[in-house]
């Protein structure tokens, strides 16, 4: 291979985003900005009840409502009536039973959105309300209503037995922990435009995370062959897991095929809260046993997650949470059990951190508790037990890649802490609660908390995962140009920029053009699980190398005369399923992170100011350092949100806060400075040694904030998001009781 010198914008540089200019000018076309001549608007009628039988639906008045072109019910779905990522159990439109408040029941297409909404109001659904189960423990009871008519409401149960699960220890600590239902709240709403095609098929332009898995689910419901359902990426305004499952996709296609006109559907913010899956609420029981000298001996965990009304990815999420439940520690003996159940709540599925977030909150609280019981420094306890390359995890999986857990702890601990300014000298905006602080800062207490955690990169448990890339190198008047096509989605994380960097480095050309992702090329898999840099980055690297070989044969770039192209598919190493004792080789590889939170609490008012977040992260190799820091900072904000404010509040299965007025995400006033450190220890066997970076700060920050709040207040914090009542001592902490079924 010839030497490449002097190409700027390759890997390792903080290259500017390729889509930066259109985005700052307002020119970038998001899915919600699409329009076509003769376009109609679609709207969705949703169930107001968490569980009900549909006796009848009267659409007469809606059909004759002004501007209405179509009103569709379940009977109008020409093919398969259900879809779903892991299990096709979610109705395209409900026909006999609705299982959550917000479930789609009918569709309207009209000349504009107002007319469509008017028509929705005229649809009369006669419901027979059924008893609902809205608590995850209640869902386990034999008398609970069974959502899917099966023997029980269990979506998945697994157990991981490691060493001697009954091993005795000198010191035990135990606790119950809970996490709330978090919304991904991407700012870009669910949106897409379906355009009927002359061949009887349909073209769907949509904001998604994975075009091909959408196509696989849509085509059978439309009763069309796959190749007649062509998906094209519409600009994506953030995703965070919310766009893994279908939302408006099939609905827009149905309406377009029926009316023979383009149909656009865009959810409003309120509808968005009903229209996608959320982070699973979990209830987690844990017991940690250690020796007097602070070595972990045995970890017992039972994790229960609320999957809501349909399966989605509840299985892999509880699998992840359970497999990580002992933390990034060397644990000789463990019994880890996980169960995900159906309830009549909103369906839950993927969100940044995918099960690891909830587990980390619980096991890190336990580690602090254990440190207290042993009268040991909490960081020392963690370091003493830190997992490392060569550790065998409770699943029996050997950690073979980089695992710099001890180093992360050391690095985060020495980052400077901001000085504690006396309250009277401060701008009031710098008091907990900001301008809303009614005191003078008399009862302020500072606290510092740490957390360490980890998560897998890529899909697990034997999932056959791949990504395809096509690269074409040619020469035009301005010199050599590389064109690249994949079906991979840049949801905002910066993948497109990384791809251009890889191409520059591999081919030594400056000019790289990316084609719009669609389903005409092979699948790229999902922009999930921090996997795209490894998977699509890997595919692009392979395709470039094939082009390069031919180029070298032709005598290098100077001699390039006829175009060279290559298409390659990247697979990560094969993983395996877990056996009945939870043993196997489930994960491709891991990344680790440590966080430190500095908080200040007004202990009388229960108000919090996060003063600083510090994160050290194991990144393998930073391909674009600025964008790595950006991922850490953004992931930290979502972690802070989960720790302090973000929760979908449900009463009897009904959402009480479906708006940005009532569901709070961190504002610029809530976010402290985030100081981050990257540890670059290239991962063997992974393209460029680069680990995924998107999720890990979200995994550790909630636990670190909770730890800091415990230190500041001296109170047991067992549930996130933490509310003022918890901090002011007005709500009792959860007392330990035995997990269900033990």
């Amino acid at each position: 291979m010839s030497v490449r010198i002097g190409i700027r914008g390759g890997i390792g540089e903080s290259v500017r985003r390729v889509d930066g200019e259109p985005k700052v000018k307002g020119d970038f076309e998001y899915a919600s900005d699409l329009s076509r001549e003769g376009m109609l608007w679609g709207a969705t009628l949703r169930s107001p009840h968490p569980h009900a039988r549909i006796r009848s639906i009267d659409i007469q008045a809606a059909v004759s409502s002004p501007g209405v072109l179509a009103v569709l019910l379940a009977g109008d779905v020409p093919g398969k009536k259900t879809h779903g990522l892991d299990e096709a159990d979610q109705p395209v439109l409900a026909w006999d039973v609705v299982r959550y408040a917000g479930e789609p029941v009918a569709l309207v297409a009209a000349e504009d959105l107002e007319l469509a909404r008017e028509a929705l109001k005229k649809i009369v659904v006669d419901y027979e309300v059924l008893p609902a189960v809205t608590d995850m423990e209640a869902a386990l009871s034999p008398d609970a209503p069974r959502l899917h008519g099966k023997a029980n409401n269990i979506i998945r149960s697994l157990r991981i037995l490691h060493g001697n699960p009954d091993a005795k220890a000198d010191v035990w600590v135990e606790g119950i922990y809970e996490t709330g239902m978090q919304d991904q709240a991407p700012l870009g709403p669910e949106a897409g435009l379906a355009v009927p095609a002359a061949d009887g098929g349909v073209d769907l332009y949509v904001a998604t995370q994975w075009l091909h898995v959408d196509q696989d689910q849509i085509a059978p419901c439309l009763d069309l062959p796959r190749e007649k359902v062509r998906l094209h990426l519409g600009g994506v305004g953030g995703a965070f897991g919310a766009r893994e499952d279908l939302s408006m996709h099939i609905h827009a296609c149905l309406l377009a095929l029926r009316t023979k006109r383009p149909v656009k559907i865009v959810y409003g913010r309120q509808e968005s809260f009903y229209g996608h899956v959320h982070r699973h609420p979990m209830r987690i029981w844990m017991r940690h046993g250690a020796n007097r000298d602070g070595k972990l001996v045995n970890v017992q965990a039972y994790l229960l997650s609320d999957g809501g009304a349909y399966t989605s990815t509840s299985g892999p999420v509880i699998g992840n949470a359970t497999s990580f439940a002992a933390g990034p520690y060397e644990v000789p003996n463990a019994r880890l059990e996980g169960t995900a159940v159906f309830t009549n709540n909103l369906p839950c599925g993927a969100m940044r951190g995918f099960g690891a977030v909830q587990a980390t909150f619980a096991y890190e609280a336990q580690m602090d508790e254990l440190a207290r019981a042993l009268e040991m420094d909490p960081l020392e306890l963690r370091s003493r037990n830190a997992l490392h390359t060569g550790t065998v995890m409770p699943t029996g999986q050997l950690v073979s890649g980089a695992a710099p857990v001890r180093e992360l702890i050391d690095r985060v601990a020495v980052l400077p802490v901001p000085p504690d300014e006396p309250a009277p000298d401060r701008d009031p905006m710098l008091l907990p609660g900001g301008a809303g602080h009614v005191g003078h800062g008399e009862s302020l207490k500072r606290g510092i908390g740490f957390a360490v955690g980890y998560k897998n990169i890529g899909y697990s448990e034997g999932f056959d995962d791949s990504s395809q890339a096509w690269v074409r190198l040619s020469r035009d008047r301005d010199g050599p140009l590389a064109r690249v096509k994949t079906a991979a989605v840049d949801v905002g994380q910066g993948l497109d920029t990384i791809v251009t960097q890889i191409v520059r480095t591999e081919l030594g050309v400056e000019r790289v053009a990316l084609e719009q992702p669609d389903t005409r090329i092979g699948s790229a898999g999902s922009s999930s699980a921090s996997r795209q840099t490894m998977m699509t980055g890997g595919a692009v690297q392979l395709a470039c190398r094939a082009v390069r070989e031919e180029l070298d044969r032709q005598g290098g770039l100077e001699r390039l005369n006829r175009p060279i192209e290559a298409s390659r598919t990247y697979h990560h190493r094969v993983t395996g399923k877990l056996d009945e004792n939870g043993q196997g080789d489930p994960h491709v590889t891991f990344a680790f992170a440590a966080a430190r939170a500095v908080v200040e609490v007004d202990t009388e008012l229960g108000l919090v100011r996060v003063v600083q977040l510090a994160v050290a992260q194991d990144v393998g190799r930073a391909l674009n350092p600025q964008s790595v820091y950006g991922q850490i900072e953004g992931g930290s904000a979502q972690g802070l949100g989960l720790a302090l404010m973000e929760e979908i509040e449900l009463t009897d299965g009904k959402v009480r806060n479906a708006s940005f007025t009532d569901y709070l995400i961190p504002t610029i006033l809530d976010m402290p400075p985030v100081v981050s450190e990257l540890i670059e220890e290239p991962e063997p066997g992974v393209p460029f040694g680069a680990k995924g970076v998107g999720e890990f700060s979200t995994v550790v920050v909630p636990a670190a904030v909770a730890a800091a709040l415990r230190q500041a207040t001296g109170r047991a914090i067992h549930r996130i998001p933490v509310k003022p009542d918890d901090l002011a001592g007005l709500r009792p902490a959860l007392a330990y009781r035995k997990p269900p079924g033990s």
Binding site: S14, R16, R17, D19, G20, E21, K23, V24, K25, G26, D27, F28, E29, Y30, S32, D33, S35, D112, E114, A185, P186, L187, G188, P189, V236, G237, G238, A239, F240, V266, G268, R269, D427, M429, L430, V491, G492, Q493, G494, Q626, S627, Y629, G630, E633, G634, G635, S636, A637, Q638, S659, F660, T661, I665, P666, T667, I668, L669, M671, P673, V674
Partner: protein, 156 residues
Amino acid sequence: MVVRTRVNGEWREADVWPGASLLTMLRDSLGLFGSKNACEQGECGSCSVWLDGKLVCSCLVLAPQAHEREVRTVESLGAAAMNPVQEAFIEAGAVQCGFCTPGFIVAVTDLLQRDPAPNEISVREALSGNLCRCTGYQKILDAVALAARRIREPST
């Protein structure tokens, strides 16, 4: 009803439902999609525009309220060359998915016109009505500081 508004220097007419927002008029009647629709409830600032020179959330303004008035949107910025705020957002890495970005560009441009040297607390206060779900705001603060410096000392 027909609303006549001067948008980015040009008089435009739109036939709108009287209950439509200025945001809907800009996007669906006038084809100006730069202003975004993340909440349509006045909570996120993604729809920020100037109405007679004053920064507003266009989702909270009724289209008829803009009749015979002047509206400036993100599309008025950087048509020829990017303004220093736009440049700084790209350079500082303050753009991820970019859905919040047009609103921030308008709000920050407005802030720096009023106060070319804001301290960090006033920047945070001025931007507290603009939500971003991707960046954690740190690089947005960096971008504001960078833009402010460039506006004060154009050669840097």
